[in-house]
Amino acid sequence: MARLIANTPCAGLLPKTIGSVSLSEVDAGVVTLVAPFNGQQKAVSDALKSAIGVGFVAPNRCVGTSPRVMWCGMGQALVMGVDCPDLPAQCVDHSDAWAIVRIDGAGADAVLARLTPIDLRASVFKKGHTARTLIGHMTGGITRLGAQSFEVMVMRSMAATLVHELVQAAENMDARAGLSA
């Protein structure tokens, strides 16, 4: 009989601190992709709300901390940090599908501005906002957690590339900070 050992997607790659920003891996716990069946969105939302306290979310929004519900595509959301109740929806285990990296610190938005075309200005992309977008050459998601805190997620298999891209961008920003006018 086997005994299986778990590895995180960014094992051995993080954490790192580069200049004023730090990169760390996020363990989101149990993650379930929920896609309500036809006409069931309200029922799903109600069931979620009564079971975990957070309902189904609007596009580009992430509600709650732990547990939380994050929009992730048309008619789809990730229920994170809690076992998903039975729902009139497609419910798929995604606990191992994503590499999730948190970037914190002054200039975190500037680092991400090296990688993503979306508008990250605090007045536009607020706390609790999430977006499916490009991160370098990868498709993924970005969520704002705070003034200088973001979460970046890509397919698990691209963890090494995500870390490479974030580190490169952060190192460039750090080197810029050392330049004289």
Binding site: M1, L4, A6, F37, C91, A97, W98, R156, L179
Partner: protein, 979 residues
Amino acid sequence: MRIAGKGLNAGGAPVSFSFDGTIYEGREGDTLAAALLANDVRLVGRSFKYHRPRGILTAGSEEPNALVTLGTHAAQDPNIRATTQELYDGLAARSQNAWPSLKRDAMAVNDLMSPFLSAGFYYKTFMWPKSFWEKVYEPIIRRAAGLGAISGVTNEDTYEKAFAHCDVLVIGAGPAGLMAALVAAQAGADVILADEDSRMGGRLLAETYSVDGREGADWAADIVARLMAMDNVRLMTRTTITGAYDQGTFGALERVTHHTAATQAPRECFWRIVAKRSILCAGALERPIAFPNNDRPGIMTAGAVRAYLNRWGVAPGKSVTIFANNDDAHRTAVDLVEAGVKVAGVIDSRADVQALGDYPIFTNGKVVGTKGRLGLESITVQHSGGTRDIRTDCLAMSGGWNPTVHLTCHMNGRPTWNDDILSFVPTDGAIPDMTVAGAARGVFSTHGCLEDGIAAARAVVDTLGLDAVAVDTPSADDSAYRIEPLWQVEGKGRKWLDFQNDVHVKDIKLAAQENFRSVEHMKRYTTQGMATDQGKNSNVAALAVLADATGRGIPETGTTTFRPPYAPVSIAAMGAGAQGHGFAPERHMTSHQATLDRGAPMIEAGLWYRPSYFPKQGETTWLESCNREVGMVRNTVGICDVSTLGKIDIQGPDAAAFLDFVYCNTFSTLKEYRVRYGLMLREDGHVMDDGTTARLGANHYVMTTTTAAAGQVMKHLDWVSQALRPDLDVRFASVTEQWAQFAVAGPKSRDLLNTVLDADIDGESWPFMACGDVSIGGIVGRLFRISFSGEHAYEVSVPARFGASLFRQLCAQAEAMGGGVYGMEALNVLRIEKGFITHSEIHGRVSAFDIGFGRMVSQKKDCIGNAASQRPGLLEAEREQLVGFKPVDKAEKLTAGAHLFVEGADAVRLNDQGYVTSVCHSPTLGHDLALGFLRDGANRHGETVMMVDHLRGVKTLCEVCHPVFFDPDNTRAKETSNG
């Protein structure tokens, strides 16, 4: 020559630099051009075609002549404009396009031959023999003519790309731009103010005008400080807006470290700035006058002379003359006289002008000749009082100012001719949501620019729903711009228009004479307006000459097309981050590290990295390893990571109906906990992809796709669900990344699995094509009894976090049983032996009929591609059909991509009978095998055909056979014993 105490950088620290190996001293805040002039270096380059000595013409990014190379080896950076390159300690610049030296350039012989080298000369002269153009003439011409060279070595410098967003982008930080930015920012808009200079202020830094009763430069510095203190303003210096694109997107190049010695920071950053509104305050560019020999070092634009004098405290000559058709002549003379520089004469082409200071003036004047081989020595002047020679080492010229309209034309807009200023101005609305202000739209007085910047910003913030704060226009000079036409001066000698491409007035006239009368044709015929400066100095003058030569007005003649980039952008900046690991995302399987640890070479499958083979000690070729791995699977057991295959979870009340619609065969009849092979067609009836789909519940399936088509299939399902069958209640999600999946293949596969599964399986509980949940160390995984090798085989999957761990344990168990891990090469051999297809066979041009699966297209239901697959021409026996090939002589080679011919027929296209798609050496059968498509192949088993590979020079007689070479009854995969 430096003037003591003069210049905005008068207090700057001394800076040491070199030019062509000679060490000079400049001072902090200088550009390379300013520092060279301060050291009386006038000759800085050789021209492109005639290798004529050239000096510094301008003081900005429009510079055509003063191009130098910085850096050496991999960091060699050619065509750097000395006029924008900031000086730093240790800067080493080299001149370009001269050999053996700048002063004695052997190729200057071209200049003596110039009567034979006029525009169009190449096309007329080098026509014969035709084959010589590419091999002989062009290489010689290219070597003789040229700018700087790149090193040819990979550049190790870092470059960067970035995005920025704002409400208002202000382009240019002169008086108009500064006021526009201030007004917009005070109204609460998010503002980006970008300027290509290292210091903001525009012409205020180069002129002696006052604003609000203070020095213009000081006033600008104050406004910049106010803007810097505001949270909603981002100031971007050294940043050139290079292009205007759709939906308010602008390209911009920031030169991040060009002004310093090497650092770790990126050299340049290529920005994409998205702005709700933009205000173009790009100013204007001064144009030279085309008079005979107007290209000698020491002749420069009047605005540049004032910039060197006022901003950097440099007198570009000891005895300066000025030639102009507008009031800039006098502005320049006054500044020079005030600074104590001798003005030897002002030659004004106009009649009704008077000197504004203590200098000689020549009205109705023209410069008709110049002397001085490596630098200006004297000029010949014709004026109302006669003709005379004047000794001078610097001639400042001004033919008027051209508004910088470039960005307004990047979306195919054309500028509008304005007769008052004898130049083009932007056409309203040429770029959506862009407003133009200041000199960029022909408002040339300082006061006018300040006022225009304010007005533009007020209008813009209003459209954003913001309220502008009232601002008084600062007091400043408001004198009118007075200019008279003067495009060319007759006289002996070439009258240069485009200094960078060595195009002169006669070339333009020749173009017109030879009927290249359209301005676009003239440009291509003469090369006027090409290369790094894109004719910033010469375009308007050249088309004025063309208009004259063709008897049309300037507006009718029109302009050539302005295209991005406004200023050169290095390819390195546009491709920033894409070197090495940044080239494309790398997708790693959970077994990645263990695979590398075993020394397996990786091959790229899409973005995935997959092992080619796993070399064992003593194996010297890939084939040895591959043969061993194949034998392992056929005789004991092999492990292979197959996580890269696409996995799509499909759920919903209509999941079965949905699958019946997208697959050509039926899935609604599939029993729960069973797997079925499926074939998917495109709408045109050709095969799109294949794979197995497992039924995990009444309304729950998991589809697998090929690695290559995972994304395409997902997109296809989205399309079908949203556009074709929204009536079906079904949802699907990729679970490719959730599960790590491993093939366990070979006669001992079940034995091996029983060492890792919590509960043993047997032939009864897990027959061929069974599937279901299993437990491994308490972890719930999935087991599928499917086979891509033809052996008794399984695929076992666990949540990806356990993938690396399970892989190591499976490998260890396999090795203990005499088997081991196998890679893509062995996987390929195993599937060819069994005649299993991949995208080598289903390459997009074959139908289900062609691959022998015609009967899989169920006629009991409709599916995508069904109707189209029945079209005439897609079901004929004459089509090329999938068959196998074996060499008649077993020692002979088969090659993929080879074509097939009837034995004895010429191996030419018309006799083509088909082609080979996949080959391998089969260690199981002891010879090469191939799959391929042969005309009427299904009916030709047993015949021989000639395989001809023209590319590799291989010719092999083959026997045509059924595509399944090994175990045609599939008894091995279906093995049912419980032993």
